[in-house]
């Protein structure tokens, strides 16, 4: 049984831990151009961004832009991981026909770790995004950088512990996602129905593990950019954006693949309908969490709590906040409400693109006022880092997808999923 799957060569492990398994029934029929082109384009854009960004004039901007673009890709991978974990845990039937899509996107962590290197360098850089708390002498009462509040947080906010935590998160995500990937492909190859139970067992402890690490990753990667401020709901906020993006990414990918002639007759209007319902639901969930965070601080009115929102309600950032309110909640809420929008791939794909853009805008809104408190702005590096990283991420994902069956063809619940109908 173990020999049924072979590992891939060491360099390829970065993108796909397993050697190609061919499928006759549900093959990837696109050409290799579909992932080589975005891959090359992405690498060039990222390389140019790094090359220009590492110059003195752009360094601070580069670190922030890169962090936002990278976190965007991370949030999609994490959201997809949650989709798969929850699917196994609740034995969801409808999603089996399209499960391979989030499954493949969730195995992106080794690639994301590689792409994390510029941020890792930034942690040690005095111009880096985390310099507010990594600065020398922050806990030393004699230093001119002494900060009483941060001195009290030094047990948590110090570089060794920070790096240890990040390593733990990456380890947990990589382990759980590649294990899910391996078992799922093993089922493809061997057809063993008992693997479904093993996937469920894995998800039972994998879900809480990934839940806690995701929440803390939200605290560590984004909240510590402005370390004076704290919000206990911030981890859930990060999760809500990630989970929403994952559904958008899945719907968008499937619409694109169907346009290229794949998954036709497998994913139907009924599956789109459910993806649309989940997109709608998590648009509301995101708004619920974002508002919960805002309202309690509004009510309390304590300066150390409201300061984070103060920066986002002045100097042009108030426009960004308003765009977020309308673009991330009110408009998608009203547009996704009618049934027809959710049942056709075109309007759903347009909404998916829009919401993914809003997810990036949301991350930009969380991070960038720390760097530019005086003037709201977009920098070309924001766009180039984001687009470059997304191209690399998508290329890795498509390449991984092309090496295996597009559908979990031996899943015992596939038949029910193919015949799925909304009641």
């Amino acid at each position: 049984m173990r020999d049924a799957l072979r590992g891939s060569s060491p360099l390829m492990k970065l993108i796909d831990p397993l050697a190609s398994t061919k499928s006759d029934q549900y093959p990837f029929i696109g050409t290799s151009r579909s992932y080589i082109l975005p891959g090359l384009a992405g690498l060039v854009i990222v390389a140019v961004s790094i090359f220009v960004g590492m110059s003195e004039a752009f360094l601070e901007q580069f670190y922030f832009s890169y962090l936002i673009g990278w976190t965007f890709c991370l949030s999609i991978a994490l959201g997809c991981l949650f989709i798969v974990l929850i699917k196994h845990l609740v034995r969801a039937e409808w999603i089996v026909a399209l499960r391979r899509i989030p499954e493949a996107a969730a195995v992106s962590f080794p690639l994301l770790i590689l792409l994390f290197i510029p941020i890792l360098i930034g942690i040690f850089d005095t111009h880096g995004p985390y310099h507010h708390w990594t600065a020398e002498g922050i806990a030393d009462p004699d230093s001119k950088y002494y900060d009483e509040i941060l001195a009290g947080k030094v047990a948590y906010l110090n570089i060794p512990f920070f790096l240890t935590r990040l390593a733990l998160y990456f380890l947990a995500w990589t382990f759980v996602s590649s294990r899910l990937w391996r078992l799922s492909l093993l089922q493809d190859v061997t057809g063993d129905p008992n693997i479904s139970a093993r996937l469920r067992h894995l998800s039972a402890w994998g879900l809480p593990l990934c839940g806690i690490t995701t929440a803390f990753a939200g605290f560590d990667l984004l909240m510590t950019l402005y370390p004076h401020w704290f919000s206990t709901i911030f981890g859930v906020y990060f999760f809500s954006g990630a989970f929403l993006s994952a559904f958008c990414f899945t719907a968008l990918t499937i619409a694109g693949l169907q346009r290229s002639g794949m998954l036709r007759g497998v994913v139907t209007a009924e599956h789109y309908h459910d993806l649309g319902k989940l997109m709608f639901g998590f648009v509301v969930f995101w708004a619920y969490i974002a508002f919960s965070q805002y309202m309690l601080y509004w009510y309390g009115g304590i300066p150390e709590e409201t300061v984070w929102f103060k920066y986002r309600l002045q100097n042009g950032w108030e426009t960004h906040s308003a765009i977020l309110l309308f673009g991330h909640f009110i408009l998608p809420f009203l547009i996704l409400l009618p049934r027809a929008v959710k049942r056709y791939s075109l309007p759903l794909a347009i909404m998916a693109v829009w919401l993914l853009m809003m997810q990036w805008f949301d991350l930009h809104w969380q991070a960038m006022p720390v760097l530019h408190p005086d003037q709201a702005q977009f920098h070309w590096l924001d766009l180039s880092c984001w687009i470059g990283l997304v191209c690399v991420f998508v290329a890795g994902f498509l390449w991984r997808l092309s090496r295996h069956a597009m559908v979990c063809e031996a899943d015992p619940r596939l038949d029910k999923s193919l015949r799925f109908e909304n009641a």
């Binding site: 805002y294 509004w298 009115g301 009641a423």
Partner: protein
């Protein structure tokens, strides 16, 4: 004119008038859900509109077979949402800024931020009430009197019977032709239902 309009509206709710001679319609029993679906499709494509199906459990695809189309419940629900949202906004503004303004730690008498939870709750509450109320209204429920109850066989609709009822008020209704159609569709028994207390059983 008005009477005709009311009858038309009631017919969409599944409440049909009996004919002058007291005939309410035909009740056909089918052996299983599959045959019932096929029969409903046949009756619908033959041009009948005043008919309904009855089964002990919901049957997937029956709405499409009967040609029911999209439910209007969504529009009723969003009407409820707008009502709830408007009411909650007005309630909080009027009570806290107009009728009895209280200064609470310097906060504005009325502000949108603290009002949103109540606006959300009342929106959901009114949506739910309108959805349930609208569902009952569109289905003509509750309906304590229905001439179908005169049929002894019909009690099995809540146990193991699958029934299709064609109302005499349908413009295509013809006692013998409709009965022939139902039998052709696989009915194992067809009953004529009268609106004054008795039915006659035609078994095939």
């Amino acid at each position: 004119m008005l009477k005709k309009l009311i009858q038309g509206v009631k017919a969409t709710m599944g409440i049909y008038e009996a004919r002058e001679d007291g005939i309410y319609g035909l009740l056909a029993e089918f052996p299983n859900p599959g045959v019932l679906i096929a029969a409903a499709r046949k009756v619908h494509t033959s041009g009948y509109r005043h008919f309904d199906t009855h089964s002990p459990f919901p049957i997937h695809g029956m709405d499409r077979a009967m040609g029911l189309g999209q439910s209007r419940i969504g529009y009723i629900t969003i009407l409820g949402s707008a009502t709830g949202l408007g009411l909650a906004t007005w309630l909080q503004w009027w009570t806290s800024a107009v009728d009895y303004p209280l200064n609470i730690s310097g906060k504005p008498f009325f502000a949108i931020e603290p009002s949103i939870p109540i606006m959300f709750e009342l929106t959901v509450l009114f949506s739910a009430l309108f959805a349930v109320g609208g569902m009952l209204a569109l289905n003509g429920l509750p309906r304590p009197y229905n001439p179908l109850f005169y049929s002894r066989e019909f009690t099995r609709a809540s146990d193991d019977g699958f029934f299709l009822h064609v109302a005499a008020s349908d413009s295509n209704f013809d006692l013998s032709a409709t009965e022939a159609l139902l039998k052709e569709a696989g009915a194992k028994a067809v009953e004529v239902i009268h609106d004054h207390g008795y039915s006659e059983l035609h078994t095939t």
